[in-house]
């Protein structure tokens, strides 16, 4: 068994920042990641990092834009903490040597981004995430923080009290991918989940193949509620063949969208008469698909994004990477032709419920980054707001786990006895296919932390042995594809009741198929077949919860568009959808949105761009 004070699962921006913060507080920290940290998907971020750095900008304006962008589904205390702390976090990064793009006077450069009232997006060319990830990893190396790379975490070690709020987390079980060894990791102080997004629930996504929502699934199964899962961001400019992202920076620099008639449709069809291409992502994604659906798309599939008029010099200075991406992945020379683009799954606004210290309702269990939902992005995340989220809440989680007293949180966590229960007619029974006996981890009454981890290890060894011993069944790929297709078809940018129900039925069938899943590769050495099989279970949990949230929320808010409900229903829906696994029987309930923070109070207004 491996043992540390603080264990961080995931080596992306959130995980690295959390580890550094915990280490700075004197904790013995280790990062456990299924891929080497520099391979994490934070490295793919292109556009930039928002922070109110200039004198004529303010954290209040940043908070306002974030709240408005979220369509009033963000919690004010999270938005405040975020907008107030982002500037110091960005300066911190700069002090760590992040190679930001620079102004003539040597200060970091900022540019406009969608939905922002001030050009407050700092960046490093069109490869901001790459530099950010490497800068953070360099600091991890500098501090000598332990990294267990290519260790795949499969299950949390949590005590099994009835009420999740009485449970505590003591570690987890992980597989050493290289050797196949299944081992326990014990955390003296805390476990921080920073496992990133879950784009693999869709077949057209900007996300890496490794983003399967493992953290969400593990926390959910251990009893932590997951929040606002229906809120999936679709990015309006992804390359049609691969889903590779073309940064919003292109539109920030002045790039234009055209339909097949050569019209700048954002203006000409009144989708966003003021902001045009720079309206927020949900608005632009819907506009593009409407164009395609009304026959003004190209090849019935996409529209054009044009940046030629910016001139080669400016493009090569600020968007060079985009020229390479368009060339390598779509075979288009973006200096000479417009780029084909369409919306693709991009980001999860929802995730593991946490408060502003990164805590979940289980003692000692934290989450940060895209896998978490502190409720900052609400129904729609602004471009450039995810990266500062990683530092602000990653650092808080790291500090708190290392024992720093951050004061009383304002955001509540955990299922609440008198919470409003959802009244939804599910078309099929969601959740576990067979009755669950020994979830979460420990057997009744185990209190010694090491024993809790040991019990989890034994359970996991048995599960993996059983999987590997099956001689026949369904391959995980068939199941994963079925889920991805259902989600893409029915729980995409546009959603309607019948479709979501179909998706839930398909997911149910996929879950049933999963009871017969088998692993072809019997070798313990670097068994990616086994890994993908286990990941597919996470994909199932994530997809099901997205579809459930989408069916429950009978209104149109931010990224969540419903055909039968074409209005934002503030009287009824300024609340979060919460989903608890309840030992295999998902239960949905609601929590009111906190529109009041320490310094700010918000009144929902119509969103116009």
């Amino acid at each position: 068994m491996y043992e540390h004070d603080v264990l961080v699962v995931g080596g992306g921006g959130a995980g690295l920042r959390a580890a550094i913060a915990a280490h700075e507080e004197g904790a013995d920290v280790a990062i456990v990641s299924k891929i080497h940290p520099v391979r994490s998907h934070t490295g793919a971020a292109e556009g930039g990092i928002n922070a109110a750095l200039q004198e004529d900008d303010s954290w209040e304006d940043h908070a306002y834009d974030t709240m408005k962008g979220s369509d009033y589904l963000a919690d004010a205390p999270a938005v405040e903490t975020f907008a107030q702390t982002s500037p110091e976090e960005v300066i911190q990064l700069e002090h760590w040597g992040m190679p930001f793009s620079r102004n003539e006077d040597g200060t970091v450069m900022q540019r406009p981004f969608g939905g922002l009232s001030y050009p407050r997006t700092t960046y490093a060319g069109a490869e901001t995430g790459h530099h950010l990830l490497h800068t953070l990893y360099e600091q991890v190396v500098k501090r000598g923080i332990d990294v267990y790379q290519e260790w795949f975490v499969t299950r949390l070690a949590v005590t099994d009290e009835e009420d999740p709020e009485d449970r505590s987390a003591h570690g987890f079980v992980a597989i050493d991918v290289k050797s196949g060894e299944v081992a326990g990791f014990k955390a003296r102080n805390g476990v921080i989940l920073a496992t990133g997004g879950a784009g693999q629930a869709y077949d057209h996504t900007t996300n890496a193949v490794s983003l399967t929502g493992d953290g969400i699934s593990m926390a959910y199964r251990a009893g932590v509620p997951i929040e606002d899962m229906e809120m999936i961001q679709f990015h309006p400019t992804t390359l049609p063949s691969t889903g590779v992202l073309i940064t919003e920076g292109v539109r920030g620099e002045g790039g234009r969208l055209f339909n097949s008639e050569g019209e700048r449709f954002m203006f000409e069809y009144g989708y966003a008469t003021n902001d045009g291409e720079l309206a927020s992502r949900d608005v632009v994604s819907r506009a593009e698909l409407t164009e395609v659906n009304e026959g003004r798309g190209i090849n019935d599939e996409y529209v054009y994004l044009d940046m030629r008029h910016l001139g080669e010099e400016r493009i090569m200075d600020r968007l060079e990477n985009i020229v390479h991406l368009a060339e390598d992945f779509e075979g288009v020379n973006a200096l000479e032709e417009p780029m084909p683009v369409k919306p693709g799954q991009h980001y999860m606004m929802g995730g593991i419920e946490t408060n502003e210290h990164g805590q979940t309702c289980i003692d000692g269990l934290y989450a940060a980054g895209e896998t978490a939902c502190v409720s900052l992005h609400g129904a729609n995340r602004l471009g450039g707001n995810a990266l500062p989220d990683l530092f602000v809440f990653g650092a808080n989680a790291g500090r708190h786990a290392a024992g720093v007293d951050l004061g009383d949180p304002m955001i509540p966590v955990g299922p609440d006895d008198d919470a409003e229960r959802a009244d939804v007619d599910w078309p099929v029974e969601p959740g576990a296919v067979e009755p669950v006996v020994e979830e979460p981890a420990a057997d009744g009454g185990v209190t010694d932390p090491a024993a809790v981890v040991e019990t989890a290890v034994e359970a996991e060894k048995a599960r993996i042995d059983e999987l590997l011993s099956r001689e026949d069944g369904v391959e995980h790929m068939e199941i994963r594809k079925k889920v991805q297709q259902a989600m893409t078809e029915w729980v995409n940018v546009f959603r309607e009741e019948e479709g979501i129900k179909k998706a839930l039925k398909e997911i149910r069938e996929a879950r049933e198929m999963y009871s017969d899943v088998y692993v072809t590769d019997k070798s313990r050495t670097f068994n990616t077949d086994l890994q993908h099989t286990l990941e597919t279970e996470s994909v199932l949990d994530v997809a099901e919860s997205i579809a459930m949230g989408a069916l429950a929320r009978t209104e149109f808010r931010g990224a969540h568009w419903r055909k039968e409900h074409q209005e934002r229903k503030d009287d009824e829906w300024i609340k979060h959808t919460m989903l608890s696994w309840n030992d295999g029987e998902p239960e949905m309930w609601y929590r009111p949105v906190l529109l009041e923070g320490e310094d700010t109070e918000w009144e929902p207004k119509e969103r116009s761009y």
Partner: protein, 281 residues
Amino acid sequence: MSTETPETEDSDVPDPQTRRLKEKETRKAAKEEAAADVIEGETVELKVFRYDPEIADKQEPRFDTFHVPKFEGMTVLDALMDARDRYDPTLTFRHSCRQAVCGSDALFVNGRQRLACKTQTVDLDEPIQIEPLPHRPVVKDLVVDMEHFYDQMRSVEPFFDPDELPGPDQQQLQTPENREQVKMSTRCIWCGACMSSCNIAAGDNQYLGPAALNKAYRFYFDEREGENRQEERLKIVEEEHGVWRCQTQFSCTEVCPKDIPLTEHIQALKREAVKNNLKFW
């Protein structure tokens, strides 16, 4: 130890820009040829290296042939994933971002180190031969052990380390020119292609290698690090298995998927070392 700076001119080596343009031409031609999206009935032939130390009939390394359906814009990674998902789930390789930023899928494709995800199959002769990166122990199929590469990266103290920092709300100014000077060096994605292509590294396990030296360059030339730190960095790159081992063969520069002028960067460090020595005469 020699302190001479060898000439960098070497006209036989195509520079990355020319290579890119050439590949583009080929691709354009192929695209025009193939009008349809999916090319009916046509397949791409792959010859893939296989090895698993644990499974009896895979302990003897061999090549497996796969015929995967061709489609327009298909990359080597697409072809490999299709071969795995369609025919053989045990086929093992690393990949993640599929957009040339994570650096996990550097492979030896048709005799050259390339990122599978950014290599179009139409640019290659068939059968496309896919092998693990040379000069690294193979873990299984196309997966190699990267530990040694990571060790070399770590040994150049790859982190920004200025003498003093401005206040917590102040920036450390950097001129746009200085940023330009280090810009290319900051693009490295740790794929290991350069190291695997280097003859010197193949013969000398302790040689720091192009990626680590490039990392040293990135910090050495950052104007914000202090003089003492610079000197320490020079010491590291000047040690026995450092810059002087480089024989300017350019193979690293040629394979780097991020077009980093590695050889040039190593030469620049050599020049600094020479200058530094002169100072003490």
